[in-house]
Subunit: 250 residues, 2 copies
């Protein structure tokens, strides 16, 4: 893990860009200026998941989540997903995205084949990268644990929750474009889950999202459904998600 | 409104039993001992709804909710529902309850006729009583406003939210035994709603509860679904409901 830049945000949070091999990422850590109570000891970590739109495009929303988490005494980190930002595309993913757009523009259902082609290779590539990032982050003296995963892509969050024992709680953004194979893995999850559902999400099928929530194997799982579209998560819902992590990572 | 008894609970909350005509009720108010910041000025009020099992049976759960609300600076009040506790039964309600038990024991669906017979007369009787109670409570110097309604019976909460403009926010406990007429009224609700759904509620149909949530007309409505049966609401869900009222009544 190589730090390539470092800046202190106006609220005292330390933002460092890094590369891990060919993967760019960002690490945010609280400092004595941003969270006086918790900055001296190693802090818990939240991995910030996000849709595959590129870190640069996602930065404003990611840094807002990072600042809120830092104020609660959490470090946060994110990485560029394979095939996003400046990372090399692969043809099958481009094809799958085009197929998805066509299916959604036509208002028709999205076939299992498209969902599989879209999500399965992404999960297969991204999950080991998140795990390698976790190895590197947990070797830093300022990062302790425990570790949570927060956000999309929900299929990546599901796989990580199943295969990565260092992740002890996950806040997931409900989605419906989940391959059947991943849906079945969801039943194996046992860690506490906090699931956000936007009731009128234009990109997701509500019933499929509810079925997925029902399938999660966790004994503690909460669904928070709020009005509005995909990007319309209300402020109070973000606060409730933060409280979930405070309950489980502190 | 006649106060018939008064005691100070160990956390400083003042508990007063009252009667309003033939209706018994309980009022809890914060004092300088229980909520130093807010006890000097008139405080907001939360009406505590509950299932028709009788105030005496419901007391432990009600007083727990009252104490939590008092700690946040809210007064709370509840009344005995018509046909519950020591209040006179009416034969049609007894018949409807027996029919419901029979239908549920048989594992079959509960007919619209049973639901209507169970809920409609209760709503017709209880809602004006809640309104008269509200008149009396708001005339007390220590109670200001705004006013919220919290809890079951959901059909009563829906009707109150539609007809009583002094209620500005409602926290409802999702139920499925809702008459069609009340379901249609739900679309007229415009106040912020916070709906608790117990995912494995043995007495409620989950899909009907989700359909009802979808029908509410409010622009701000949140569904918090948690694992467990009817009485298994987790502590953190109660806290989230309390935060909802703090957002809207303070």
């Amino acid at each position: 893990m190589l730090f390539t830049s470092e800046q202190r945000l106006d609220d005292g949070v330390l933002e460092r860009e890094f590369t891990l091999g060919e993967i760019p990422g960002i690490l945010w850590t609280p400092t004595s200026a941003s969270a006086p109570a918790s900055a001296s000891a190693p802090v818990p970590l939240i991995l910030l998941g996000h849709p595959p739109l590129g870190l640069r495009k996602m930065y404003p929303r990611l840094v807002a989540r990072a600042r809120r988490s830092a104020a609660e005494g959490f470090a946060t980190a994110t990485i560029e997903l394979p095939g996003s930002g400046d990372r090399p595309r692969w043809p099958a993913a481009e094809q799958a995205r085009a197929d998805l757009r066509r299916a959604m523009d036509a208002g028709g259902p999205v076939s299992d084949e498209i969902v599989d082609a879209l999500a399965l290779p992404l999960v297969e590539k991204a999950v080991p990268e998140w795990q390698a990032t976790l190895d590197a982050l947990l070797s830093l003296p300022e990062i302790g644990g425990p570790v949570g995963y927060s956000g999309g892509v929900i299929s990546i969050g599901i796989r990580l929750a199943v295969v990565e024992p260092r992740i002890v709680a996950a806040g997931l953004f409900a989605g419906s474009l989940v391959p059947r194979a991943i849906f079945e893995e969801a039943q194996q999850i046992t860690i506490p889950l906090h699931v956000l559902l936007q009731w009128d999400d234009e990109g997701n099928d509500r019933q499929a999202a509810l079925d997925l929530f029902d399938a999660f194997g966790s004994k503690e799982k909460s669904l928070h459904a709020n009005m509005g579209g995909h990007t319309g998560v209300p402020q109070f819902a973000a606060e409730a998600a933060a409280q979930f992590f405070t309950r489980h990572l502190k």
